[in-house]
C-alpha cells in the first residue's frame, strides 16, 4: 500500500517510527556517554509522541496513560538518573572504543532487513495502518541487544537495555494499541525498579573494579587461565 493513502497522523507515526530507528543507529554509533544518554532521552520522546498520536488515531485513550509513563520514565527519570550517575562517577567524557564501528553499523542494517523479513507473516495478518512499524520495533529491539553486546561500559549497556524496552513498548503500541492497562503498569514498575537497581550496581562495580568496564568482570569461568 502507498503511504500517500494514509491520513496525515498516520504518516506522522510512520515518520516517527523511522526517526526512532534512526535514533537506535545513533545510539549504536555514539561513543560519548553523555550524548548517548541524550539520544536515549530523545528516543523516549519520539516514542511518547508516537503513542499520543496512536491514542488519538485509534481513540484508545488509555494509551495516553502509557504515554505519560513513557514520558516520565524514558524521558525524564532514567536519563536523569543516568546523567547524575555519569556526573557523579565523572565519566561524562569517557569515550569508549567499540570494535569496528562501520562493521557494527552494517550489521545493524542487516538486522533491520532481517526483522522486516521475520515480521512479514505478521504484516500479512495485521489490519492496522501502522503494521510495518512492527518490523521497525523488532529492529529497535535487536539493535538494542546488539548495543548491549558491543559495548563494554556498564552505562552504555544499560542504555542499550533500555532502548530494547523502548522497542518493546513501541511494538506493543503500534501493533495492538498497547497491552492491557494492568500489564502496562506492571511493566512500567519493573522498568522503574530495574533502573534503580542499575544505579546501585554502578556503584558496586565501580567500587569493586575501579571502573565500569564490564569486560573486567571475568573471574567466574570454567576455563582456567
Amino acid at each position: 500500500m502507498l503511504i500517500a493513502t494514509l491520513s496525515l497522523p498516520e504518516q506522522v507515526v510512520l515518520t516517527l517510527a523511522a526517526l526512532i530507528l534512526l535514533s537506535s543507529f545513533l545510539l549504536l554509533a555514539q561513543v560519548r556517554l553523555d550524548s548517548l544518554i541524550n539520544i536515549f532521552a530523545l528516543q523516549g520522546l519520539l516514542i511518547f509522541f508516537a503513542t499520543v498520536l496512536m491514542a488519538f488515531i485509534a481513540g484508545k485513550y488509555h494509551l495516553l496513560i502509557s504515554a505519560a509513563l513513557t514520558l516520565f520514565l524514558k524521558v525524564y527519570f532514567i536519563p536523569g538518573q543516568l546523567r547524575k550517575l555519569v556526573i557523579r562517577l565523572d565519566i561524562r567524557r569517557e569515550v569508549e572504543v567499540i570494535g569496528n564501528p562501520m562493521l557494527i553499523m552494517l550489521f545493524a542494517a542487516a538486522l533491520v532487513l532481517f526483522s522486516y523479513y521475520v515480521a512479514l507473516p505478521i504484516r500479512e495478518l495485521s489490519l492496522l495502518s501502522t503494521r510495518n512499524t512492527i518490523a521497525i520495533s523488532l529492529a529497535v529491539v535487536l539493535i538494542g541487544m546488539l548495543m548491549v553486546i558491543s559495548r563494554r561500559k556498564a552505562v552504555a549497556q544499560v542504555v542499550g537495555f533500555m532502548s530494547m524496552e523502548n522497542g518493546l513498548f513501541f511494538a506493543a503500541v503500534v501493533s495492538t494499541y498497547g497491552m492491557p492497562m494492568v500489564v502496562e503498569l506492571g511493566i512500567a514498575f519493573d522498568v522503574l525498579v530495574a533502573a534503580i537497581l542499575f544505579g546501585v550496581f554502578f556503584f558496586h562495580i565501580r567500587t569493586e573494579i575501579g571502573s565500569l568496564d564490564t569486560d573486567r568482570l571475568n573471574h567466574l569461568t570454567e576455563v582456567e587461565k
Binding site: P121, T214, T221
Partner: protein, 684 residues
C-alpha cells in the same frame, strides 16, 4: 513333571505359599536393615539383631525358593506401591525359585559368619549401623530382583542392589584405593543399569506396558530382538563381570568386608546371570543362534582370561575375584551352548546345557563364598591380604584350612566335588556339537570346550599355588604366625559350605532332577534320561554315551585308600615315624625366605602366556649394604585398551565444553542473541 507331581501329593500346598514365604524373607531383610538403627550406641546388640534377622530372611528365602523349585509352583502377588497405574508385582516361578534358594542360602551362611567377623569393627571409627543397614538393603534388593515381575520393579530392585553394595564396598572409606574401587564400581553399575533401561525400553516399546507378561507377549522383529539382546547382554554382563566388562570386579570385591565379598562374588553375580536367563529365555523367547555364538565366545574369553589374570595375583581376595570372572565365563559357556542348541531346536541338549550352567551357578555360589569366608578369616586373624606374607596356616587354623582345601578342590573342578560335576555336564553338552548341521558351529563348540579344559587345568594350577603358599610351608611373616581359627559362627558357616561342596558333588542326580523343572518351564522340555538309571548314575544323554557315578567314585576312593592302608601294614616292621629337619643340601638351616614365593610359583606360566598381561619386571641392583630388589608389576591390558581412552575422550570433551563458560558477559549475550536470530531464521 511326574516327580514334582509326586512331591505335590506328599506336600499339598497352594501356589501362593512359596511366594508368601519369599515376601516374608524380603520384609525380614528390610527389618534387619532398619531395626538395628534404633540402638546405635550398642553395637554388639546391633550386630546380633541384624545378623539374626538376616539369617532368618536368608532361610526364609531359601525355603520359599526351594519350595517353588521343587513343587514347580508359580505364585504372584501385587504390592500396593509403585506407579499409580502400575503397582509393583512380584512373581516366583521355578527359575526365580532356584536363584532365590541360592541367594537365601548364601545369605544365611554369611549371616552366621558376619556377627563374628564384624566384631573387629566394633569400637572403631566405622559405624556398625551403616554396615548392617546396607547389608540388609543389599539382600533385600537381590531378593526383589529375583521376584520382580515387571520392568519397573526389576530396575528399582536392581539399582537398589547396586547402590547398597556400593555403600558396602566403600564402607572402609579411609583407604583411598577403596574409594577409587567403589567409584569405579558404582559408575559401571550405572552404565550397566543404563543398558538395562534400554533393553527393557525396547521390549516395552513393542508391548503394552512394563509387565513381564506383556513383554513375553510382544513379538519383535529379529533386528529389534537382537538390539534388545545386545543391550541386555551388555547390561547384565557388566554386573556379571564378563571380559572386557570385568574391571570393576577385581577392584570392588577385595575391598569390601569379606562376608560382603562373599555375597557380592558368590551371589550378586548370579543375580545378574538370572536376569540374563530371564531376559533371553523368558522375555525374548525365540533365540537366534548368533546370540549363542556371541555368548559362547565371550564366555570362553572370560573363562581363560579370568583364570590367567587370577594366576598373577598375590592379593588373596583379588585372586578370588578374578576367579569369579573365570567361573562366570564357564557359566556363560554353558548358556551359550544352550542358546545355540535351543536356536537349532535340539531342546534336549539345550536343556542339558542350561542345567549345567545353572548347576555351576549353584556350585560357584557355594565354593566361592566358602573361599571368600576363609580368606576373611585369615584377614581378620592376621590383617594380611598379601599371599607373600602368609604360609603354614594349616597348623594354626586347621578348620579353616580343611574347609578352604575343599573349596580349592571344588573350584578346580576335581572329582568327587561339586565343581567337577557341573563342568562335566558342560563338556557332555559340548560333545553333542556334531549333531548340529552347521559346520561353523560344529567347529566353534569344540574350541569352546578346549578353552574350558584349559581353564580347568589352569584353575587347578592356580589353587595349588594358593593353598600351597597360604596354608603350607613355613609362615612368611610374624603376623601370620599369630593367627588362629576364628570364632564358632565363622567356623560353622565355613563347615556348612564345605559339606555342601561335597554333598552337591556326591549326589548330583538329585540336584539335576530338581533343576530339571526350570528348562521344562522355560522351553517346555526337560532332560528325560538324565536320571533314568537311578540316583546312583548321572547319564545326561544316554547310559551308553556317558555316565558318572558320583557316589560310587567317592566310595571307590575311600575303599582303595583303605585297602592300600591295610595292605601296607604288615610290610611295616614298626610304625614309628621319625621327625627330622628338612633336607637343606648341607647348608645352614632353611628359613621361610628360602621357600618358593607365589610370584616364583607362577613364573613359568607368566613366561608362557606373557602376551596376555602388561608386565613390568626389573631388578634394582644392590646398593652398598642392601640386597638387590626385584620389582614386578602386572597390569590388566583391558583397562588400558578400553577404559583409559574412554576417560581421556570424555575429559577432552568436557574441556571443549567448558569454553562456553568463558567469563565474558558480552560473549554470553551474543550466545542468546545469535540463538534468537538462528531460531527466527529457522522457523520463518
Amino acid at each position: 513333571m511326574a516327580w514334582a507331581g509326586g512331591l505335590r501329593q506328599n506336600f499339598p500346598v497352594n501356589d501362593e505359599m512359596a511366594i508368601l514365604i519369599a515376601e516374608s524373607a524380603v520384609l525380614t531383610a528390610l527389618l534387619s536393615a532398619i531395626l538395628p538403627l534404633f540402638f546405635l550406641n550398642r553395637p554388639h546388640l546391633q550386630s546380633l539383631v541384624a545378623f539374626f534377622l538376616l539369617g532368618g530372611s536368608g532361610l526364609a528365602a531359601a525355603w520359599g525358593g526351594g519350595m517353588a523349585l521343587l513343587l514347580q509352583t508359580t505364585g504372584q502377588v501385587v504390592l500396593p506401591i509403585g506407579l499409580p497405574w502400575l503397582h509393583v508385582s512380584l512373581c516366583l516361578d521355578p527359575l526365580a525359585g532356584f536363584f532365590l534358594f541360592i541367594v537365601g542360602f548364601i545369605t544365611f551362611t554369611v549371616a552366621c559368619y558376619g556377627s563374628g567377623y564384624i566384631r573387629e569393627y566394633i569400637g572403631g571409627q566405622l559405624s556398625i549401623g551403616t554396615l548392617t543397614l546396607f547389608t540388609g538393603l543389599f539382600a533385600c534388593g537381590m531378593f526383589l530382583v529375583l521376584l520382580a515381575a515387571d520392568a519397573f520393579s526389576f530396575m528399582l530392585a536392581w539399582e537398589l542392589m547396586s547402590l547398597a553394595s556400593y555403600f558396602l564396598v566403600v564402607f572402609q572409606h579411609h583407604q583411598p584405593e577403596n574409594r577409587h574401587a567403589a567409584f569405579i564400581y558404582l559408575l559401571m553399575a550405572v552404565v550397566g543399569g543404563a543398558f538395562l533401561f534400554l533393553a527393557y525400553g525396547v521390549l516395552a516399546g513393542f508391548s503394552d506396558g512394563f509387565s513381564f507378561a506383556a513383554m513375553k507377549a510382544a513379538d519383535l522383529s529379529p533386528t529389534w530382538a537382537t538390539i534388545a539382546f545386545t543391550f541386555a547382554f551388555l547390561g547384565f554382563g557388566l554386573k556379571a563381570g564378563i571380559v572386557p566388562l570385568h574391571v570393576w570386579l577385581p577392584l570392588a570385591h577385595p575391598v569390601a568386608p569379606s562376608h560382603i565379598s562373599a555375597m557380592m562374588s558368590g551371589v550378586m553375580l548370579k543375580v545378574a546371570v538370572y536376569g540374563f536367563i530371564r531376559f533371553v529365555y523368558d522375555l525374548l523367547g525365540n533365540i537366534i543362534w548368533q546370540w549363542g555364538v556371541v555368548v559362547l565366545l565371550v564366555g570362553s574369553a572370560s573363562a581363560v582370561l579370568g583364570v590367567l589374570y587370577a594366576l598373577m595375583q598375590h592379593d588373596l581376595k583379588r585372586l578370588l575375584a578374578y576367579h569369579s570372572v573365570e567361573n562366570i565365563g564357564i557359566i556363560y559357556i554353558g548358556l551359550g551352548l544352550s542358546m545355540i542348541f535351543h536356536a537349532t531346536h535340539h531342546l534336549e541338549i539345550a536343556a542339558l546345557a542350561l542345567i549345567a550352567a545353572l548347576y555351576h551357578c549353584l556350585n560357584h555360589a557355594i565354593f566361592k563364598s566358602l573361599l571368600f569366608l576363609g580368606a576373611g578369616a585369615i584377614l581378620q586373624q592376621s590383617r594380611q591380604h598379601d599371599m607373600e606374607t602368609m604360609g603354614g596356616l594349616i597348623k594354626k587354623m586347621p578348620v579353616t584350612a580343611t574347609c578352604f582345601l575343599i573349596g580349592c578342590i571344588s573350584i578346580s573342578g576335581l572329582p568327587p566335588f561339586n565343581g567337577f560335576v557341573s563342568e562335566w555336564l558342560i563338556f557332555q553338552a559340548a560333545l553333542q556339537g556334531p549333531i548340529l548341521k552347521s559346520g561353523i558351529l560344529g567347529a566353534m563348540i569344540p574350541v569352546a570346550a578346549a578353552m574350558l579344559a584349559l581353564t580347568g587345568a589352569l584353575a587347578a594350577a592356580c589353587f595349588v599355588k594358593v593353598y600351597g603358599i597360604v596354608f603350607l610351608g613355613r609362615p612368611r611373616s610374624a603376623e601370620i604366625s599369630e593367627a588362629q581359627d576364628p570364632s564358632f559362627g565363622m567356623r560353622l558357616s565355613q563347615m556348612i559350605l564345605a559339606v555342601c561342596c561335597l554333598g552337591f558333588g556326591i549326589f548330583p542326580t538329585w540336584v539335576v532332577r530338581a533343576i530339571n523343572g526350570i528348562p521344562e518351564s522355560l522351553m517346555g522340555t526337560g532332560l528325560s534320561s538324565v536320571t533314568d538309571n537311578g540316583w546312583l548314575w548321572l547319564t545326561p544323554v544316554s547310559p551308553q554315551t556317558a555316565s558318572y557315578g558320583a557316589p560310587a567314585v567317592f566310595f571307590g576312593i575311600l575303599v582303595s585308600w583303605l585297602i592300600v592302608f591295610v595292605f601296607l601294614h604288615p610290610l611295616r616292621r614298626d610304625n614309628r615315624i621319625r621327625l627330622g629337619p628338612a633336607w637343606d643340601c648341607g647348608f645352614g638351616p632353611l628359613n621361610s625366605r628360602m621357600q618358593y614365593t607365589a610370584t616364583a610359583f607362577a613364573m613359568p606360566l607368566r613366561r608362557i602366556f606373557s602376551f596376555i598381561w602388561l608386565i613390568v619386571e626389573k631388578v634394582e641392583p644392590a646398593g652398598p649394604g642392601e640386597a638387590p630388589r626385584y620389582l614386578l608389576k602386572i597390569d590388566d591390558r583391558v583397562w588400558l585398551m578400553f577404559y583409559v581412552p574412554i576417560g581421556k575422550i570424555m575429559l577432552k570433551l568436557a574441556e571443549r565444553a567448558s569454553r562456553i563458560q568463558g567469563g565474558n558477559l558480552r560473549v554470553y549475550l551474543s550466545y542468546s542473541f545469535f540463538t534468537l536470530l538462528f531460531l527466527l531464521w529457522v522457523i520463518v
